[in-house]
Amino acid sequence: MVDIVERQDQSAAQIEAAERRPLPRWVITVISVAFALVLWEIFGRRINPVFGSYPTAIAAAAWELARSGQLADALYQSLRPFAAGYALAIVVGVPLGLFIGGFRTAEAALGIYITAGYAMPLVALVPLLILWLGLGFAVKVAVVFLMALFPICINTWLGVTAVPKTLIEVGKSFVAPDWVILRRIVLPATLPYIMAGVRLAVGRAVVAMVIAEFFTTISGLGAVIINSANNFDTATMFVPIVILMVMAIGLNWLIGVIEHRVAPWQAEIAGRDRE
């Protein structure tokens, strides 16, 4: 009894603090990254600098690139088509996925192209895209768009087919028209799938951006990679690679934050909201 009374006297914050004993996730991640960097530094230093590199050398090269203004230019050149293509992929992919998943006829008529498109060897098509769109901004946007579109579209589509039938019947029982069911029941129920697709697409869009820069006008971060590789300057070559990976992590985190905003119930149901 005494214990219960004391419990009630405790404020909610205190109880919450007492429950949060395990090591926070970010601490574990930082330890893991630090460990990997130290290992890389130790073993990287023993390798001929043409064949490999190590964190401090890459950091020095990054500083050099940043100071000369090359890095900012390259980032700007790369991010414009990346952002445009990726945004376009979301704007087209989500409604398309909803449409294909939501209507039987659309699924039968269009689903096959989406499935095939996901496996499309895009690199092989780049020369053709160049013929259509030239060598500039447009073709880069197209390459990023085509690589990012399919995971977003397929995930949305799968999400729609995974919506519990009973939830749709709730809409039907209250005489909701089809498009209201799609917007107010199917779309929110599909959001976690959509966000997973949007996350998967980040990695593919980054790869697409570099491919586009290699095979069309050599520009941006892709140009930095090619030029430094041609000069056997391996440390500098790693700078854009590391930056792109960090950028992908940042974007993933950002998407996670957005997901928490637009679909908070998902984390709450899964019990992840306390982290």
């Binding site: 019947e169 039907k172 029982s173 209250f174 005489v175 909701a176 129920a189």
Partner: protein, 259 residues
């Protein structure tokens, strides 16, 4: 008014089992009616077609032959004259309790100030005024089902169709909910068609019990308990309860499958 009548309703499914096509008669010439303001319990073993009968009445499934009428008008698809309470409440997880009730009302075309006020009124009726802003996962099983009942009642249907609404609840919550349902019925006088597989439940809440087996109605019996039934504990102790319960039990166990 709110009178539901099943006129020779049959429902056949085609079912492919290991390559062989089977025709399943989920409903076989089902006829019975629910009078205005009455609670009728539809009882039977699982697979007897009781849920199918309810779905046909709601308009979620179409009958192969025969028809269901509500106040003489044939059912074709879902309508606001019928309110459905689902087995597992089926609340939309991204909406609060209040918003879930409002959803049904919005679909009926209600807007503005009346929308919120009406939803709040019905949440209050089921005793959930305090928890209106909670999302479904923050509600207990019994609370979820209360929201489900409020959502169906709010659109002011002629008939409430309930599909084993308390089947997934623990025994104590179920008893509370049965009492509350009777209380709500006392206040709203809605016609209720209630599917259950629980003998006690059927006798406690219903005015009449329709016993189904293998897609057919094999018995319809009146429950001689009268209304109101403010204390179900006392009802359970009455000889009428025991007698009716036994009669339904006999009907479920002995009734011939073919008439």
């Amino acid at each position: 008014m709110g009178e539901v009548t099943f006129h020779d309703v049959s429902k056949r499914f085609a079912l492919r089992v290991e390559g062989e096509l089977h025709h399943v008669r989920a409903l076989d010439n089902v006829s019975f009616s629910v009078r205005d303001g009455e609670i009728v319990a539809l009882i039977g073993p699982s697979g007897c077609g009781k849920t199918t009968a309810l779905r046909v009445a709601m308009g979620l499934d179409a009958a192969t032959s025969g028809r269901v009428t509500v106040d003489g008008r044939g059912v074709a698809g879902c309508g606001h004259d019928r309110g459905m309470v689902f087995q597992h409440a089926e609340l939309l997880p991204w909406l609060s309790a209040l918003q879930n009730v409002m959803f049904g009302l919005e679909m009926k075309g209600m807007r503005g100030e009346a929308l919120r006020a009406t939803a709040e009124k019905y949440l209050d009726l089921v005793g959930l005024a305090e928890s209106k802003n909670r999302r479904p996962h923050q509600l207990s099983g019994g609370m979820k089902q209360r929201v489900g009942i409020a959502r169906a009642l709010a659109i002011d249907p002629k008939v409430l169709l309930m599909d084993e609404p308390f089947g997934a609840l623990d025994a104590q919550t179920r008893e509370t909910m049965q009492a509350e349902l009777l209380d709500i019925h006392q206040r709203t006088r809605k016609t209720i068609l209630f599917v259950t597989h629980d003998l006690d439940e059927a006798v406690l809440i219903a005015d009449r019990i329709v016993v189904m087996k293998a897609g057919r109605v094999c018995d319809v019996m009146a429950v001689p308990l009268g209304r109101p039934r403010p204390d179900l504990g006392i009802v359970r102790g009455t000889p009428e309860f025991a007698e009716t319960r036994y009669k339904v039990w006999r009907a479920l166990h002995d009734a011939p499958t073919v008439h």
